[in-house]
Amino acid sequence: MADQPTAFERFTQGILPENPVYRQLLGLCPVLAVTNSMQGAMTMAGAVLFVLLCANVIISLIRDLLKPHLRIVIFTLTIATFVTIVDRFLAAYMYQMSKSLGPYIPLIIVNCIIICRCEVCASKQSVITAASDAVGQSLGFALALASIASVREILGTGMFFGFRVLPEMWPDWVIMVLPPGAFLTFGLLLGAVNWIVAMKKAKD
């Protein structure tokens, strides 16, 4: 246990150095699918935060009881439960949002970020560390979603969070709201992040 990262390290690593989207390339399905508006992206980020936090805490609490060959079953069971809870809550209290996010909320069950954090951190470390890891990773995920969604929403509709930020005469780049826009934006941003990392390494 001595060489495991501390709670604070887990938290900060999740945000940038080990950003789930840009550095680990995990959970790309929602990254591509729900980033055509900031509202959708932030709802997705909130849902992931809730699921990851709950799953990490529960797994960390029962980590000493886990049998190695049955752990994936237990991870999936826990994650699926909390995803269902989020899905039902959205349908009850944010009906329009739940409709526009469609299948992508239930699909959090198979989001690799969550099962990866359960495996890497929660099943090995204390509750506090697992919780701060969950929050750090979720913030990193939210940051990545926000970066893609802001590019796509501003270029695609001239709006940000549903408010107009570009003049009316702005020609909407419809492609940015459509799936190809997601791939292009994510690819270019990923390239930019890799370039920055390479530049940093070269400097050191």
Partner: protein
């Protein structure tokens, strides 16, 4: 250790013990999670159902009386009863909302859906009490191309359907609409426009007679036969 256990099929007792011993946590968690999910489903499902229904119900006054009349209607705080029925017609089951003011049927709203350009289009059509003219159209759900096909959502386009007769099928035309049953297609989105017309035509074609019949039954409750297709909700 697992392979060695599996290579001893003769020892049944030991294996069953072994699996229960291994799986107790999974079983415990599963029953615990299952119970909590059942609880959440029980508490939230009425709300979710209400959300789904409200989405339609909110639109009913507007679709029958038009936006302005519906507004003043609401301000005067007049009562409107909306009854949901299921009518089977043309091997489809339609959700139909009967709007009543002062015990008089003032119109019907039909929920219908069909294939659009990209995906299913779900819409509501309002017709008058005798199901003779269209009083309104609303698009509930669509995934048409942003900037082109999704203009079917725009009020100006939808308003073209108002006051059209239900007797003749609507056609979407690319040039200026001249005949009474013609709708101006959205430029660059002819397929979406045609799809909406098609859905409206099909559902009205199927429901025109059942709705008129239902109205007659309502007006003469004496000879009202128990109707198999209607189910009050």
């Amino acid at each position: 250790m697992k392979p060695s256990e599996q290579t001893m099929p003769g020892d049944n007792n030991r294996i069953s013990n072994f699996f229960i011993f291994q799986a107790w946590l999974v079983l415990l968690l599963a029953s615990f999670f299952g119970a909590s999910l059942a609880g959440i489903q029980l508490t939230l499902s009425p709300k979710i159902e209400a959300n789904k229904l409200n989405e339609t119900l909110e639109k009913v006054p507007e679709l029958i009386f038009g936006a302005e009349a519906a507004q003043s209607f609401a301000e005067e705080n007049r009562q409107m009863d909306i009854e949901r029925q299921y009518i089977k017609a043309g091997n489809k089951i339609y959700s139909v909302f009967q709007a009543k003011t002062d015990d008089q049927t003032s119109g019907w709203v039909v929920k219908s859906s069909g294939q659009g350009y990209a995906d299913k289009i779900e819409l509501l059509v309002g017709v008058d009490a005798k199901a003779e003219t269209i009083s309104g159209l609303f698009i509930l759900d669509q995934k048409e191309t942003p900037g082109l096909g999704n203009k079917i959502m725009e009020q100006a386009w939808r308003n073209q359907f108002n006051n059209k007769s239900t007797q003749q099928p609507m056609t979407a035309v690319k040039t200026k609409a001249s005949a009474p049953n013609e709708i101006n297609a959205i430029t660059g989105a002819t397929i979406s426009s045609k799809a909406v017309c098609g859905i409206v035509n099909q559902s009205l074609n199927n429901l025109r007679q059942p709705l008129a019949k239902a109205l007659l039954n309502d007006q003469n409750p004496s000879d009202n036969q128990p109707n198999n297709h209607q189910e009050k909700k």
